[in-house]
Amino acid sequence: MANPTDEVVVANKRAPVIQPGYTFATVTDKISSIVLTRPTSFGWLVGFGLGFMVTMMLLFAIGYLFLRGTGIWGINIPIGWGFAIVNFVWWIGIGHAGTLISAILLLLRQSWRNSINRFAEAMTLFAVACAGIFPLIHTGRPWLAYWMFPYPNTMNYWPQFRSPLLWDVFAVSTYFTISLLFWFIGLIPDLGTLRDRAENKYARMIYGMLAMGWRGSARHWHRYETAYLLLAGLATPLVLSVHTVVSFDFAVSIVPGWHTTIFPPYFVAGAIYSGFAMVLMLAIPIRKIYHLEDFITDRHLQNSAKVMLATGWIVAYGYAIEAFMGWYSGNRYDSALLWNRLHGPYAFWYWSLLACNLGIPQLLWIRKMRTSPVWLFLVSLVILIGMWLERFVIIVMSLSRDFLTSSWGMYYPTRWDWMTYFGTIGMFLTAMFLFVRILPMISIFEMRTLLPEAEVKHQ
């Protein structure tokens, strides 16, 4: 049999989506062996252990919070929304890239997404899980958080549906549920593959139960593809709505710096910006450690870098409009906010934000930077810091100086704020470490469809 993979055409210097020479069998073996036969390495144990310890620190910080109340944080009046909301918005934003890759790029028929969608979706799930912690513990009485959901109760009380904070409850819980379903149905065929290939009896049983008896019937695939496509179609407006609703938490209020109509698109672009930075920060070490350069090629790195450049400029437009409106509106509170950002007590962080989100990422215009994993990793780290600073600037700086000088204040995070923030990063890493160890981190069946031998037409 002639090897049809020889026909892979590498269009003018662009790296291929998958290196030539692979067959259905080798793709399957390469991805499933990471889970099934590769021994648990020392490096994995160290990474997982570190993540786990930091997760324990998170539990400690939350435990002490439950004991003492939110007074252990740096929040005060006027700055009632401190790190908790900054981190919530940051984490939710990171999740957006996973849905963009899995749903929007699927609808746009960008087949290069097939090798990064699985772990990007896992990243979404874990990021949204981290995000969900913050508003919950920020309520002060998290054991009563279920009051936010509409359910018949003996108090004869109902939630207030005109509040953006309640919209957020619905947006975030829907987003988590749909992301989980999308990730899980994507996994079903691959769980079937692992079931059929696992040597260990218990592994076979567990993968078998999760695969639910998937056998790859043509009728099943037909319904499966319809459901997958419909779910992508539903997730696309959903992901755009989630950060829009998050931005409504701010935009619907009258606080200077929050009360602006540019927020929804600017938040969504910022979310994708930081999300792709996180995708790259995960993809670059993963492809190196697990030798997946053939599947996650330079093409993927380049494309992600280009998405970051594009969304970075949308974010830049948002900053420009905010500054312009500060001057053009003639509103003295808006102009005061602009002056405050450039010269006030938090000015250093505003200038750092501009450096991180506008300045340094411009390195990505250079092709060498887009193809160098080390540089991409560093630029992505800078963008993630920058996007965190953006939320800090929006939330803390706007609240610190509102209309009356008598109600101005300053916010200083405490060690508990930092422990909770870094703790969620540990939780995220722990979950990612577990994920790459027990589930296929690249969608095997979707990689098979990328191979030239999967083509049925032109026979």
């Binding site: 067959t23 259905f24 069998a25 399957t28 004869n156 109902w158 939630p159 207030q160 549906f161 005109r162 509040s163 309640l166 919209w167 619905f170 947006a171 829907t174 549920t177 749909i178 379903l181 999308f182 149905i185 065929p189 593959t193 079931r195 059929d196 290939r197 078998g208 139960m209 639910m212 008896g213 998937w214 056998r215 790859g216 019937s217 043509a218 009728r219 099943h220 695939w221 037909h222 319904r223 499966y224 593809e225 319809t226 459901a227 419909l230 779910l231 539903l234 407006p237 959903l238 709505s241 069946f445 979707e446 098979r448 469809t449 031998e453 999967a454 083509e455 049925v456 037409k457 026979q459």
Partner: protein, 178 residues
């Protein structure tokens, strides 16, 4: 001779092209109760066995409509009838405020219907299935392609069907006990 009743006869192929061609031949030969198994979705194979449309989209649409309507009805009932509160002097039926939750519940119910509707129509979860009795079938999730003619097909005949499948030049043929 086996004492268990047969579930069908299964032929194994090594490429999606061969499977699509074989499925088409079987359908053209008048076999209707047939199925094909592959490690990834192949549109042409579903077409060849005569499976052109499914009801997943309908189920999703119904779910989405129910979600949207119940979301709006819930908010209307709470905000206008059962628990009216004056928020900033807005009318009780301030519908623009209700758009977001209606939208989110439309997506939520639609998505849940798509996933569970697909699983239900596929008859999953199904822990036991006769095709798993064939040892070579484990490769259907890797790089092999299978075509099965079920014993319930009116044209099924243990010898004739086997001969027909052999004529399609498969890599192997297996009988599937039920």
């Amino acid at each position: 001779m086996r004492t268990v009743p047969m579930y069908g006869i299964m032929a194994e192929f090594t490429s999606p092209k061969d499977l699509a061609a074989a499925a088409k031949s079987a359908h053209d030969a008048g076999y209707r109760k047939i199925d094909a198994y592959s490690p990834f979705p192949i549109e042409e194979v579903a077409e060849a066995i005569g499976f052109h449309s499914n009801r997943v989209a309908l189920v999703t649409l119904i779910g989405a409509i129910i979600g949207g309507l119940s979301g709006y009805a819930l908010q209307y009932w709470v905000a206008v009838i059962n628990y009216p509160t004056n928020i900033g002097g807005r009318p009780y039926h301030s519908w623009p405020s209700f758009i977001i939750v209606t939208f989110e519940l439309t997506i939520l119910f639609g998505g849940i219907s798509a996933v569970f509707g697909m699983l239900a129509l596929n008859g999953l979860p199904m822990p036991y299935h006769p095709v798993f009795n064939v040892e070579r079938f484990a490769m259907a999730s890797k790089d092999r392609f299978f075509l099965i003619v079920f014993a319930t097909d009116p044209k099924y005949d243990p010898k004739g069907t086997r001969q027909f499948l052999e004529g399609l030049h498969p890599r192997s043929i297996s009988e599937v006990p039920s």
